[in-house]
């Protein structure tokens, strides 16, 4: 087992170097750099632009820039400097990562809480009207683009507030400036937490609907397979109550692959919730990443890629280990 883990961790190094070289080269192939956007400003002169390029080392050859960055990451854990914010990359991306985790964590929870019962129901009442309706809704959620759904939700929130005559739903954002009449930073932590949860209602719904369909289908398939197994038939033949058959025997075995999939959530957490964050003004990873891309803030892009590559590898490892733990048939020795 330890042998296996060590081997996997060693594989991390070439994967990481390969992924970052690829990302670095792709960013550099694109025309322009972080300074380009100043060049069409009539009030900025040429020397100033050249001095900026020197300050950031953008005038050095690309392999030298990459080597400098990689040695910083490997030997000092230093992700580099943000060319846009002129400060440490980690301090630029830390907060967006945490903010995205709130959204992704909550929506994952919602997906599991809703998708598993629906999957079970659909399997037990196969081809019933309920099964068909729920399946249709799940696929509808999958089909509608997230950013568009988020926009609809924004206008829905305005509509609800208009009709209620009060602020029932937030119009985007993650926090309110004032909580109970005092500035946010002076409010008690419980009020601040509830405020974030309140703001997360709509984006979490949007993110969850898109992820639900897949899980419902997996759960339904698993359940159907388990229900056709011999031991289930035996249990039924012995006169065990149907509830017990489904929830105690079948469900426990059917959720195994879902448990094993939890490791895959880690990179999902770092990937953020996508364009929903942009539309709903949720200060997560996607807006930060898009801003970094449009400013060609190369080290912020690299920082986000580094962390997500790392988590992807660790998450996969975790998945494999979980699978070995829940499924006695799998052995890594």
């Amino acid at each position: 087992m330890w042998n296996y883990i060590a081997r996997r961790l060693l594989q991390l190094i070439p994967t990481f170097v390969g992924a970052t070289i690829l990302a670095f080269v792709i960013i550099q192939i694109a025309p322009g750099d972080a300074i380009t956007r100043f060049e069409l400003d009539p009030t900025v002169d040429r020397e100033q632009i050249e001095r900026l390029r020197q300050q950031f080392g953008l005038d050095q050859p690309i392999p030298a820039q990459y080597a400098k960055w990689l040695s910083g990451v490997l030997f000092h854990g230093y992700l580099g400097i943000s060319l846009d914010y002129r400060s440490d990359v980690w301090s630029v991306i830390r907060q967006p990562i945490l903010n995205s985790m709130v959204l992704v964590g909550l929506s994952t929870l919602l997906i599991y809480l809703v998708a598993i019962p629906i999957g079970v129901y659909s399997a037990v009442r196969k081809y019933s009207l309920g099964d068909r309706t729920l399946t249709f809704l799940a696929f509808f959620g999958l089909a509608i683009p997230n950013f568009f759904f988020a926009l609809i939700m924004l206008y829905f929130a305005i509509w609800v507030n208009d009709h209620a005559g009060m602020r029932l739903l937030p119009i985007g954002g993650m926090t309110d400036q004032f909580l109970g009449g005092v500035p946010r930073q002076e409010a008690p932590w419980i009020a601040r937490t509830l405020d974030v949860l309140w703001h997360s209602i709509l984006p979490v719904i949007v993110v969850a609907t898109s992820g639900m369909a897949g899980l419902v289908r997996i759960m339904r398939g698993q359940m159907l397979e388990v229900l056709s197994q011999d031991y289930v038939r035996t249990a039924r033949a012995k006169g065990v109550a149907e509830r017990m058959v489904i929830y105690k025997h079948a469900l426990r075995n059917a959720v195994i692959p879902l448990v094993a999939g939890i490791g895959g959530l880690l990179p999902g957490l770092i990937g953020g919730a996508g364009l929903v964050e942009v539309v709903m003004a949720w200060p997560g990873i996607t807006p930060a990443f898009l801003q970094a891309v449009s400013a060609i803030d190369i080290y912020v892009i690299m920082g986000l890629i580094t962390i997500s590559t790392f988590l992807l590898i660790v998450g996969n490892l975790l998945s494999d280990l979980l699978l070995a733990w829940v499924d006695p048939r799998i052995r890594y020795n």
Partner: protein
Amino acid sequence: MRRILVLSMLALAGLALAQPKVFKGVEAGKAGGNYRVTAISDPRTFNPFVARETSSTDVIGLFLPYLTGYNPYDLKPEGYLAQSWEVRNNGLTVIFKLRQGAKWSDGQPIDADDVIFSATAHADPKVNSNSRSSFILDGQPIKWSKVDQYTVRADFPKPYAPSLIQGWYIAPEHIFGEAYKAGKIAELWTLDTPVNRIISGGPFMLESYSKGERVVLRRNPNYWGVDDKNSPVAYLERYTFTTVSDLNASLAKFLAGESDLYAAANADQVAQILERIRSGGLKGEIFPNADVTTGTNFIVFNWNHKDANKAKLFRQVKFRRAMAHLMDKKSMIEVALGGLGQPQWSPISIPVKQFFTDDVAKYDYSPQKAAALLAELGFRKKNAQGFLVDAAGKVLEFNLVTNQGNNIREKIAQIFAEDARKIGIKVNYRPIDFNELVRQLTQPAADGTRDFDAILIGLTGGIEPAFSRNVWQLNGSLHAWNLGVGGQAPKQIESFEVLIDKLMTQGATTLDPAKRREIYVQFQKVVAENVPLIYTVAPAYNPARNARIGGLFPKGQINSIVGQYPYIETVFAKE
């Protein structure tokens, strides 16, 4: 008892010495309230020596002072931290008197040392401040020196007209001085600095900052401004920027009454706001087409083309006039701008009333006139495909690019390309990446050639024509149609370019406002006559506001340069 007397006398003396600036508002205001706007992105820094983009300077401008600026009512120079100034030596020397009694929010006085320190740091090439160009005139430095605690003196190598309106930020020496000496000035006042350690000398001070969400400023109790009844300003208790990176979401916030001021970007947004006001969902007003924005959109042809025939063609004024005759500005306004905008003919933005003139050569939309001019250049016949050809049978053809994602420019370019095709010019229109476009435009090969044909692009216009010297002077880095290599003048120049270069120098060094206007009127005429840049249309400025905010300009006084209010100090919340 005696001690109390002395103390109170000292306090009285302090009052007598204080020379607050009077901010004349639009209407009588009252203290308190929160003013909320949305911003398209976060500030990048709070450090005035590092800041480059408006997302940062919009915030910094609320908490750091500057010497002089514009009077928002007549656009003439006005003292801010400088209480008065005196011009000597035919404009070679300006002596600024600072307001005595002005204080930083930590209680330290704002005095000549702060001004001289800030000027030194901004001018230092190692600091590389964005304001550095305000301290160099044609390669020679402007000297700043301290006369006494409240008097500073600026010596110019030659008279410089915009010297009184360069709003560079004054930073506290007692905070930045040490770091500057250690070469670490850029490390102060970053976004990670606790906001209470950032001190203010402006109307507001930082209260909180949460990344990606909002910046909150609170009124600075030590501010040196009052209203015309001698009450302290700013009236507003708080000023909040909320970051909303999506344009739809920022409109939604305004429609929901969660932001106070907005400028609708297009006809669709105007319609949505109007509808919302009519239905009673929003108490507010919108003024569509109240003014035009200062931004310009123009087509530039490449005179340094590596294909000598193309370079020669683009250098013909008749060719460029023919292209100008093909600009269907009416359709461009209707289709690209949704009916909200104005045609533009000259390089000075329309709202800059003190220099703008409408009395320049104009080229009405006329494919016939365009065809006639092209015929004079030898394009008389059409080939089998219907394209114009010269005597040698060569098709009149060029590529036109603009930056991808700018809907207005993309539509303007398409309209132009279609009209040109109708009279037999083969225009290959293509949107490309902005950075690639900048590369094509600004980076000539070693022999001075560039490889584009025509580019539709724009520049942000400012109020001061002298600040666009980089575009118009022969050695300017944005002399886009005929660009020299490495800061030199281009190899082959036309006489009108020399004239423009001369007018730009005169405009910058003439101090008399009436004479300056004459110079810039002539400048606009020369440009319109020779059309090195072929101007298209300027989008409208459509300001909207929530009714809860007072102290804003009435409709007639709104202009796109100053915005919706004269001073932030005199804006107030009605509720």
